[in-house]
């Protein structure tokens, strides 16, 4: 298999990672930044999960008739990572909501303008 097709999971991982980072950096909307952050985290899930799958392997629950199992550890890790991701996202959204309430905007440049107006 070619380097591309054989490692398509990695390519997708890299694409998600870069896309997430790009959104995070390039967008001024606080909500869109969070979406970028979520994409970035998703890429990590894929990075862990994809190599754990053995072709032909079954779910790692011992039962008759199976000899190859997929590695369960990455799934557990990623479950934890997902929980962390959810918590981060929830917190981020909560912050955005509160920012919207106090500043009346979720555009970064407008918020910074309001802040410097405070100082001036």
């Amino acid at each position: 298999m070619s380097a591309f097709a054989g490692h398509y999971a990695y390519w997708i991982t890299i694409f998600l990672m870069v896309a997430g980072m790009y959104i995070l950096i390039a967008r001024g909307n606080l909500l869109k930044k969070l979406i970028g952050l979520a994409l970035l985290q998703t890429s990590v899930y894929l990075l862990y999960i994809a190599p754990a799958k053995l072709i032909g392997g079954s779910a790692p629950i011992i039962a008759g008739g199976f000899s190859t199992y997929s590695n369960p550890l990455p799934h557990v890790l990623i479950l934890t990572a997902i929980v962390v991701g959810v918590a981060t996202l929830a917190l981020g959204l909560a912050l955005v909501v509160r920012i919207r309430e106090t500043y009346g905007s979720i555009e970064e440049d407008e918020i910074l303008a309001l802040d410097s107006a405070d100082d001036g």
């Binding site: 952050l37 990590v44 990075l47 890790l77 934890t80 917190l91 981020g92 912050l95 509160r98 802040d115």
Partner: protein
Amino acid sequence: MMAEHLPILQVVLPLAVAPLIVLARDRGFAWVATTVVSYGCLAIAIALAVQVAASGTISYAIGSWPAPWGIEYRVDALSVFVLVLVSLTASLVAPYAQRSIAAEVADDRAYLMYAMYCLCLAGLLGITITGDAFNLFVFLEISSLSTYVLIALGRNRKALVAAYQYMLMGTVGATFYVIGVGLLYLMTGTLNLADMAARLREVDELRPVLAALAFITVGIGLKLALFPLHQWLPNAYAYAPSMATAFIAATATKVSVYVVLRYYFMVFDPAQLFAHLPTREVFIALSVAGMLVASLVALFESDVKRLFAYSSVAQIGYITLGIGLDNQASLTGSITHLLNHGVTKGAIFVLLGGVALRYGTQSMSVANLAGLARRMPLTAFGLVIAGLSLIGIPGTAGFVSKWYLIMGALEQGLWWVVGVILAASLIAAAYVWRVVEVAYLCPARGEWRGGEAPIGMLTAALAMVILCVYFGFDTTFSVGGAREAADLLLRAQK
């Protein structure tokens, strides 16, 4: 019977108290519980230090699953040093929290603040004590998430934006870290750090390992505010509630430095990796740039808390410089500076918290401090002493670490680095003196509610100030412990 379980109790104690606080929803109880748990953690940390000194590294298998299959908690000379630093700061800040939180955080949310504080403490201690790469990530996120909340609880609305920005950067950092760990896991098939270190030496394909090194460095670099990844820090420190600032400034970045130390010296194989990448040079360059640039920014900053926040960035430069110089003296200096700067900066922010309380304002400009010496003489004097420690005047804690860093640079023959260290100290003298001059020589003005800081706050602050001086004269613990740790790191490197 409990002596052998100290490593886990170190983390579980604050972790379990956080839900108790939520359950009770009572401010008074929350404060008592937080204080008790902080002192408990300190006691455990000291007990662990004694154990480690007596019998060497302690390994604790969670759930009786032996490493490398289960999660291992590992206490050695380095981690115990950081454990003591974190819990010491916590136990000094906790009693101080009562008045500070009462003044700065709405009553119905105060209990939340304490719960988050406990979680943050648990996370930081967990990062330090765990011997498992992924467990470390989880604790990193526990401490980070609670830190974001702590910052967002600040009164100024800018606190929200600061917390948001820190959250973005912190999460990117943590994600990068976990990507690095993922790559290492792919290459070695283990998550136990000690096991990983052994297996990494047998890995032939270096490229993924180099990528992992890069990801982990940048990721943790974000968390430790390594120049130029420090953008989140000034606002986060400036707008967080005083108690949160004091605690975070003294501990959070230090623990991240610890993670770097652990990975660089005890996981990666320097013979393989540092030969391929100019890691040391990069570290030295970034540290030097951070020391100079951040100090200069601090020199022209008008907000006091931001001024000292930038100073933190510069001081972190000292610490990472020691890593880059990579010899016994410089590492001793680095690790000592973790403690010394923690105590110093903790003292400064604790004192500023008292000032904020009495001046009734969150964002203080330097000019507003005019006449501080008349209004709050003890606070002002404490600021001077802590400031001297920040500069690195002999007889204070800051001097000791600076001495070792200079020795380290001299041993490497890097004369210009010595010059930079000293120049940065001079700039520090200039910005500290801006504050001192205003506090002592300018006539008082602006609003003031009268009196010194409340006695509880003042005691905590002065205890830290006294530590600043104490660690300048008696370095048995600070340098002694740091030296042990440095030896450990250098042994592991061989």
